[in-house]
């Protein structure tokens, strides 16, 4: 484990050292995507410069090496999430594809008329729209878990919504808008008791906390590489082997087949069965390097620092009477994502104005329109930290928010 020395950590991230509009970049949009440490970029370059080949397809040296690197990356992911076997790790292009894979393959073949699918009102669109489609096509019902006024989920809501008709529960472990961390392990236990399977959307959680699929007892779990220091274009689906075994394939084509006749096809074993076409080896190698970086840093250290940032940011935002935060107050119920509204300041104006101070934050519906409607907030501003952010950056944020009020004619 590295010593958690913020200065030296930041030096690993070339993207952080630039100026925007003449000001040093203060990147607070990490829930959208994170920057990449040089080791990840180097791993990708190194792969392309020294080993590039189409895996699973060649008896030649580069082909064998590329296959090894790809499969080693799979093993790195397997260990990272504590899956039982590499057969349970499917590479996709992002978390959204992974969720679609579950919806098309598991949902379209195993959900039946009258069944219920339960998701939470704070889901990301990628964890809503696929289930709407399944519900529509299979005449199933899509039900929502609603959060309470403290922006958390009462277990009573879980008990009342998940019934013996529920076949599938799909929930983000951490909300990308509220920062709320949901008790997925408890929900999984209850869902299993009712005979339902559970999908854990770990896109926001896994960059920041240990996600152990066996401990949670998740049936499926998905995440994206680009939100945890990895490159774009690579994501992961974890699925319990017995479930993946019984599911039909999703994308069809090269690499996922066993025998192809003119009119019929038998499919390859797991995990290839779900990986059609040339895989993104460079992406997988980059993701593995990202996991290596996170492990070396230590997820505990990351958590500690992010908690400090979140705590400080929440307390500084409280100083501003015109700011309303959407999200839990208690630090152990939330991650490092803070959504807020500033009185009289539309979030898009906020984002544009702080941008001129070098501060990158996000404004809008954050791909969670049903939540925004539920909160009766058409849009919010959102800051999201990663371990490379500093307390000083929080101060710059707060100063820039004060400037927003001035620019929009409200005094400071």
């Amino acid at each position: 484990m590295k010593n958690f020395d913020l200065n030296s950590i930041r030096k690993d991230f070339p993207t952080l050292f630039q100026s925007v509009n003449g000001k040093p970049l203060v990147y607070l949009d990490n829930a959208a995507t994170t920057h990449k440490p040089q080791v990840v970029l180097d791993a990708i370059s190194d792969y392309y410069r020294n080993f590039n080949a189409n895996p699973h397809r060649g008896a030649h040296y580069l082909g064998v090496t590329a296959t090894d690197m790809y499969e080693n990356a799979r093993e790195t992911v397997q260990k990272f999430v504590n899956a039982k076997s590499t057969r349970e790790i499917i590479f996709t292009k992002n978390a959204s594809e992974a969720l679609n894979l579950i919806a098309y393959s598991y949902g379209m073949s195993l959900i039946e008329e009258g069944d219920e699918i339960v998701i939470c009102i704070s889901e990301h669109h990628s964890n809503i729209v696929p289930w709407q489609q399944v519900a529509k096509h299979k005449k199933a019902t899509l039900k929502y878990l609603y959060i309470n006024p403290s922006f958390t989920l009462d277990m009573d809501e879980v008990y009342s919504k998940i019934t013996d008709k529920t076949k599938l529960v799909s929930i983000a472990q951490m909300s990308n808008v509220l920062g709320t961390i949901y008790p997925v392990k408890e929900i999984a236990e209850y869902a299993h008791g009712m005979g339902a399977k559970i999908v854990v959307d770990a896109a926001q959680s896994i960059p920041h906390m240990k996600v152990d699929v066996q401990d949670i007892n998740a049936d499926f779990m998905v995440f994206s590489g680009h939100k945890m220091l990895g490159p774009m274009g690579i994501g992961v689906l974890y699925g319990k082997e017995e479930l993946l075994e019984m599911m039909p394939p999703f994308l069809m084509g090269g690499d996922m087949i066993e025998y192809v006749e003119e009119q019929s096809t038998t499919y390859a074993q797991l995990p290839q069965k779900f990986e059609a076409g040339t895989p993104n080896v460079g992406g997988a190698v980059g993701l593995a390097a990202a996991i290596g970086y996170l492990k070396e840093l230590g997820i505990e250290e990351i958590h500690k620092h992010e908690r400090k940032l979140t705590s400080y940011a929440l307390s500084r935002l409280k100083e501003l009477p015109y700011v309303k935060v959407y999200g839990p107050e208690q630090l152990d119920q939330r991650g490092a994502v803070i959504s807020f509204h500033m009185d009289g300041c539309h979030p898009h104006d906020v984002a544009s104005i702080v941008d001129t101070y070098g501060v990158a934050l996000r404004a809008g519906h954050h791909c969670a329109q049903p939540l925004m409607k539920y909160l009766q907030a058409p849009a919010t501003s959102r800051v999201s930290f990663y371990f490379y952010n500093t307390i000083n950056e929080v101060d710059i944020l707060i100063d820039s928010l004060k400037q927003v009020r001035k620019w929009l004619g409200h005094g400071a």
């Binding site: 539309h346 898009h348 544009s352 058409p378």
Partner: protein, 148 residues
């Protein structure tokens, strides 16, 4: 980029003024305009007298840029003929796209000239043009309607 060229007093004033923000009693035409990606959503209401925009107003929510742009547009088109309104919308859109750049050609836009520099803030161009596109739609639909 200089914020003062965008968040001008004029724009702020318009964005906070509510003189055009209301429902009309007997609107002849309502046209919805929206930017799904950012959530801006306006309802433009129009009352014709023959070929003249007798009255216009709007409701809805959005950022300072979209609200100000809508309000300025309404000030401008009140009392204008359909052709004039159409011409103003086209002029505004041409200004944004930097097709028309001479101040003398833009003076007809009056206060709305304040958006001349919005392309320096590319993410916000959509906000500035929303009302004008909505007006164009409304005028187009008026024509279609009259033919039926």
């Amino acid at each position: 980029m200089e914020l003062e060229s965008i968040y001008t007093d004029l724009i702020l004033e318009h964005s906070q003024s509510s003189h055009n923000k209301r429902h009309l009693d007997h609107a002849d035409w309502c046209e919805r305009g929206h930017n799904p990606s950012c959530g801006d959503d306006i309802l433009l209401e129009l009352k014709w007298k023959d070929n003249i925009v007798e009255e216009a107003a709007f409701t809805g929510s959005g950022c300072a840029i979209s609200q100000a742009s809508t309000s300025m547009m309404i000030d401008l088109i009140n009392g204008k003929s359909v052709e004039e309104a159409k011409h103003l919308a086209d002029t505004f859109l041409a200004m944004i796209k930097k097709i028309i750049t001479e101040d003398s050609d833009l003076e007809v836009l009056e206060d709305a000239m304040a958006f001349k520099n919005i392309s320096n803030m590319p993410a916000r161009v959509k906000c500035a043009v929303l009302a004008w596109h909505t007006l164009n739609e409304a005028l187009k639909n008026k024509k279609v309607n009259e033919k039926i």
